[in-house]
């Protein structure tokens, strides 16, 4: 979008904001904006900020735009506090929301176009953009649910979920401990560890490697998650069966990727080791393993998501009265969807944190890989 189109869009956004003052806010009888002086002032200020953003330098406009967006969102959220608007909102309400959307998009677009000089600034921006994007999605969710009056039994607003989340921390912690610490982590460590060791052996003895690799590839493609009922039958209802499922799920991707990584060392580097008269253990320690690290971390990242899925699937086949999967199925049956959403939020945070830790460890150990230099 060229600058002129962007300027036009800013004007449209400003107009959209002003619509709140002119058009009806709700299908029910309600006070107009002129009876709410604080909000009226805020709306005018927001519209002014949007217009201003159209004319200042691109860098300054980012700050101005986001200031306007924050103010505009606050106004709409404040309007929703009124029971005559919530659930019955019409054009006068939705146009400012859309205006905020347009402005937020423009702000993010300009931020994405910035080419910072130093690495720290560029990394901050790369982090800020998705966060801002996500924050705005949450805003839209909140406004849509409350504005349209979606029954909270069906689809609660983020604020309701947050309230529920912080109100049930103990229950969430117990579920988290049962599913994640006992089920996922133990299974992950055992499964990845076993996969790693078998891969090292398969690398050492080529016959074993040539036999195991096709089998590993084959099994990786199967719906291995189906062994969950069998594991529950063998290991009982409690966490060992969940850990067993995670072990089975994580073993094969780890095996296949580690083997690929150990074979990835170039033949010149291998000849070099031969010319030093180095034994297999020395070559393994100084060449094969470091060269395999990118592949190993690839598997560790994939396994971090697979492990979680496996543990929760296993809970569907039998579990004590604890665990994320258990809680979700029970509460979904009772239509207590806010608890379900709180558990989903927990699962999302846990999953992202797990992946993030593995990715961080990857960056530290494989900083030398070309993919980090481009």
């Amino acid at each position: 979008m060229t600058v002129t189109w962007q300027r036009l869009a800013f004007f449209v956004a400003a107009l959209g904001m002003l619509a709140a003052a002119i058009l009806p806010l709700s299908s029910e009888p309600t006070e107009t904006l002129f009876a709410r002086p604080m909000l009226l002032a805020a709306i005018l200020l927001t519209a002014a900020l949007y217009v201003g953003a159209a004319f200042v330098t691109p860098r300054l406009s980012i700050a101005v735009t986001f200031a306007g967006v924050v103010l505009g969102c606050a106004v709409t959220l404040a309007l929703l506090r009124d029971d005559t608007i919530a659930g019955y909102a019409t054009r006068g309400f939705w146009l400012p929301v859309l205006a905020n959307w347009v402005a937020a998009w423009l702000g993010v677009a300009r931020l994405a176009a910035v080419k910072p000089r130093d690495k720290a600034a560029s990394r901050t921006i790369d982090l800020a953009i998705p966060l801002l994007f996500g924050a705005f999605v949450f805003y839209l969710w909140e406004v849509a649910v409350r504005g349209f009056g979606v029954p909270s039994v069906l689809f609660p607003a983020p604020s309701a979920i947050a309230v529920r989340f912080f109100g049930s921390l103990w229950m969430l912690w117990q579920d988290f401990f049962q599913t994640f610490i006992l089920g996922v982590l133990t299974g992950y460590v055992i499964g990845c560890g076993a996969g790693f060791l078998v891969a090292v052996a398969a690398h050492r003895y080529t016959f074993l490697g040539r036999g195991l690799l096709p089998i590993g590839n084959f099994v990786s493609a199967l719906p291995i998650v189906g062994v969950a009922p069998i594991m529950v039958m063998w290991f009982g209802f409690d966490w060992p069966s969940k850990a067993a499922v995670v072990v089975v799920i994580t073993f094969f991707p780890m095996l296949v990727n580690t083997l690929a990584g150990l074979n990835a060392a170039g033949h010149i580097e291998r000849d070099l080791m031969r010319s030093y008269g180095a034994g297999h253990r020395q070559t393994l320690q100084k060449l094969y393993l470091p060269a395999a690290m990118p592949f190993i971390f690839n598997a560790l990242k994939i396994n971090s998501t697979l492990a979680f899925i496996g543990a929760i699937v296993a809970e569907f086949f039998g579990t004590p009265t604890l665990g994320i999967g258990f809680r979700i199925s029970i509460e979904a049956g009772r239509m207590a969807l806010d608890v379900v959403w709180a558990e989903i939020a927990l699962a999302a945070l846990a999953g992202m944190a797990f992946y993030g830790i593995v990715a961080l460890a990857e960056r530290v150990t494989t900083f030398w890989h070309p993919s980090y230099r481009t």
Binding site: A109, P130, L154, T305, I312, F316, I328, I344, G351
Partner: protein, 300 residues
């Protein structure tokens, strides 16, 4: 340094397949041993309850033919699988073919939805810089949320609007399988050399021309690789989606039923069915890939 005596030259096919065959046979042997060991207590207990005398031979034979074994012997699984596939009419709820078809249809619909969505999203991400920076991290995050946590919500919400049966399962499958397609196609669309892109610029090509003549053909190999991954994931998604609803039909439902009623061999047979489906799906995609590759002039 004396020259070494001539080495035995194995035939290349032998070298390639012998290790796999040997290890598979070894695994089957280990399986049989495990069957005997794991079912021993079960069978011995059954004999003692009936107060019948038994020999070791009968005991071992019993472990390999128990009705509800802890670990079924391979031939038992094959037998039950064959029975459930060929023994019942195809439309009967006792036939594995029927259940397989239910899951397969959800898989297909989910795969089509997910793959299309993934391709469209990938094209948008490559062409709109804002989306690339804001949306891609969230797409990656979406995969870290265990699907099974979200599945019940999807089913309940869709059920409230009146969509039941195939569509919720397909949507859950699509949620799982769009991700590899997005990542793969993005990689493929950005794979052309800078030299190629510069050449396009010297010809003043429009973005649409660059897309259709350069980016899309370069992306096709990446697309097929991710389609193969995606279709297996879609199958897993369809099976997993049947769990929270307590579905009556489908492979996941079969697993649930086998688990509730203690029909262990049935569970294993269902697993084999799922594996057969997975292999079949990958095979179909591979065939299409080879045909397309030939059309695009790949080496035979």
């Amino acid at each position: 340094m004396v020259a070494r005596p001539a080495e035995i030259r194995w035939h290349p096919i032998f070298v390639r397949f012998a290790p796999v065959v040997v290890i598979v046979l070894a695994l089957i042997a280990v399986w049989y041993v495990a069957t005997v060991l794991m079912n021993l207590n079960l069978v011995r207990g059954a004999f003692e309850r009936d107060d019948t005398p038994y020999t070791t031979g009968q005991l071992i034979a019993g472990t390999m033919s128990a009705e509800r074994p802890l670990l079924p012997a391979p031939h038992q699984i094959v037998q039950t699988f064959a029975d459930d596939v060929f023994g019942w009419p195809v439309t009967s709820p006792r036939s594995l073919v029927y259940h397989g078809w239910v899951t397969l249809s959800a898989t297909f619909v989910g795969f089509l939805l997910g793959a299309t969505f993934g391709i469209v999203l990938a094209v948008l991400i490559v062409h709109v810089r804002t989306l690339q920076k804001s949306l891609l991290p969230w797409i990656i995050c979406s995969q870290m949320v265990p699907i099974l946590a979200v599945a019940p919500i999807v089913i309940v919400v869709l059920g409230a609007i009146g969509l039941r049966g195939l569509l919720p399962k397909a949507i859950i499958s699509a949620y799982l399988c769009f991700f590899p397609v997005v990542i793969g196609v993005v990689k493929g669309l950005t794979s052309p050399d800078p030299i190629q892109r510069d050449l396009m610029r010297t010809w003043s090509a429009t973005p649409a021309q660059i897309f259709w003549k350069l980016r899309w053909p370069s992306a096709v190999p990446f697309l097929f690789t991710s389609l193969k991954v995606s279709i297996t994931i879609s199958l897993i998604g369809a099976i997993v989606a049947e769990l929270p609803t307590g579905a009556q039909a489908g492979i996941g439902a079969r697993l649930l039923a086998g688990s509730y009623y203690g029909q262990t061999i049935q569970i294993w047979a269902a697993l084999v069915a799922a594996s057969v489906l997975a292999v079949g799906l990958i095979g179909v995609v591979s065939l299409i890939e080879r045909w397309v590759a030939q059309l695009m002039g790949a080496r035979a």
